[in-house]
């Protein structure tokens, strides 16, 4: 049941790198407060392009994206202030330490110093990064760099998290910590739009799924409802996904 005020609303979005060859074709979906939604699709399906449009890194050819009812053109600062992003590959400032990344993020989002300090301490413990807090990011392993990205997003505590392939490079304990924390974040009322190829993992955590194929949404809804659409009732997400993407476009 759609709430009157979704955190994220994407309406009839078409877009891509070239006006003549859109990657996304009229996609519409929403994410409600306290909801975790999985955005899944094959390589090149349009997941990252969708996220770039939500982040404001790409302008839509058609359609609209709003976060908490605000579009980016209306109120860019408020729009971005409601978003946190974890990219697929860590994007860090080589000249800053882990602690300084968290501090820069907290300052940028207007988080109070007290909240920043308590959150940074909790996150560094949760992701076992206490002894790396004063290391320059250039001295970190890939998995640790990914942890810094996750910690930065979580230190800001926005209303909506856009998380792109968060498990890449993380060790098993890191994956568990992330999943636990995502559940905690969700329970606190924040929303998560999560993209991942590890379907067996996200199957048990996401409330709904959006299946993208060749730039179009071929199914969206709860596990049960997309299983119905794929004619694979009771099957795991991987089988549903296979049926939806290998069986041609369905809506």
């Amino acid at each position: 049941m759609m709430n009157e005020h979704p955190v994220l609303s994407v309406k009839e979005l078409s877009g891509g790198y070239s006006l003549n060859r859109p990657v996304l074709h009229d996609i519409s979906f929403h994410v409600q407060p306290g909801e975790m939604v999985g955005l899944i699709g094959l390589n090149g399906a349009g997941k990252s392009t969708t996220m770039k449009h939500i982040l404001g890194l790409m302008n839509p050819h058609k359609g609209e994206v709003t976060v908490k009812g605000r579009s980016r053109s209306d109120d860019a600062e408020g729009y971005h202030g409601a978003l946190g992003f974890v990219p697929e590959s860590p994007i860090l400032y080589e000249e800053m330490t882990v602690r300084e990344h968290l501090e820069f993020t907290a300052r940028s989002y207007g988080i109070s110093k007290e909240n920043y300090e308590s959150r940074a301490a909790a996150l560094s413990g949760m992701f076992r990064m206490e002894d790396k807090m004063d290391s320059l990011s250039s001295h970190l392993s890939k998995g640790m760099r990914q942890k810094v990205m996750i910690m930065c997003a979580f230190v800001a505590r926005p209303s909506l998290y856009i998380i792109d392939e968060p498990f890449l490079g993380l060790d098993p304990l890191g994956i568990r910590s992330l999943l636990d924390f995502m559940v905690e974040i969700k329970q606190s009322g924040a929303s998560i739009l999560l993209s991942s190829h590890i379907l067996s993992t996200i199957e048990n955590y996401c409330d709904r799924f959006i299946v993208l194929h060749q730039g179009r949404i071929v199914a969206q809804g709860s596990l049960e409802s997309i299983a119905q659409e794929a004619d694979t009732p009771g099957q795991p997400l991987e089988d549903i996904f296979y049926a939806l993407t290998q069986g041609g476009s369905r809506k």
């Binding site: 982040l55 890194l57 202030g81 990219p87 330490t97 820069f104 300052r107 207007g110 320059l136």
Partner: protein
Amino acid sequence: MNLSELFAKRRGQFWGQVLPYLGYVIQSGVAVVFLFLLIAFSAWYTSLVMNVPPGLPIRWIMLAILVPLAVNSSVRTYLRPADTVFLLPQEPRMDMYFAKRRVSGVVYKLMLLMLVLITLWPLYIRSDDQPKMLLATVLLLAVLKRLSSWGSWREQHIVSRPAAAGLRVLRWCIILLSAASWFWYPVLHSVIFTSLTALAYIAACSVPSRYKVAWERLILLEKRHAARVMMVLSWFVNVPQGEQRVYARKWLSRWGSGIPWNKGSAYRFLLIKSLSRSDVFGILLRVLVLGAVLVWVTRDSLASAAVYLAALMISGLQLSSLRKVHKESFWLMVYPLPEGSRHHNEIKLLFQVQLLWAVLLWLPLLFSIMSDPGFVLGTLAAGLLTVWLFRASAIRSVKKEEAEEDL
């Protein structure tokens, strides 16, 4: 695969990227300023050679100018990260690839060293009571330069970084001492000393284990060299910024933590961290120390004002490159920073740092304030005007950028 051709092709590609910008460099006002400074320096140097002050510490001057040039032995390899996959199978043949780097790594730098030596030579023979022969000095410096190039290349391939750092210090020491022995001691003594230390250094270099090709190290160094070329170009035109070298500088880690805790100052925090750990800050420190020493040495002449203003302009140019560091920064597009805070913080920080440099560089002139207060205070006023002009230029650039963004 012809590795020699591959090196030449890559070198051509890199300089093919750089050359189109040189036209803009020549056209830019800063290039004219440099030309003016060169002419002013030539006039000042000619006058110095004609009227050499008594007791000029010429041997120390020769040492201070020639040794860094003799030691500096960076080389371009044009290696890329993908080479660890695609060129790795060619490792036994990589000598062919690196053969041409010797030309740029040794010959061009040797030519620069000789040019500086020839420029200094008239001052040297007029100041030193027992000057050495030019040809012999050229030969000695060429040998030291070659030794340093060989040692530097060897250091990059050593497995243990602490051992490589130790050998680097040793290389500096032996070249410094050899050059000093040349200017202070009889030729025969100096030649014996230089030969023995060089042999000892070569022997020391052969001890640590080393890679056939230190792929990761060379790729990292190549990135830094390319970034430096782009950084120099960025003083004049907008160019893509490469990966800059980062220095931990723990003694500066507290800088920035005291700025106001609000969104408007968030970018200032990032900018301070970028400045304090950058190559630029190291250059600024060197300009400050060298400039202050030269201002102090020349404090009783007009040359001190010229040195002061030149050092301040170099500082301003260096600082201006910081404006481009985060131009394409991903997080500045995603984070909710207030509109206009980027440009505002850039202009403010660069102005404050250059203003501080203007005061620090001027301090040595205070020794002359009693004898010539008008000159000392006038120099400070000229410095402050220079800082203000740099700020005005930065504001103009920002307005131009904003107008372009609005289009």
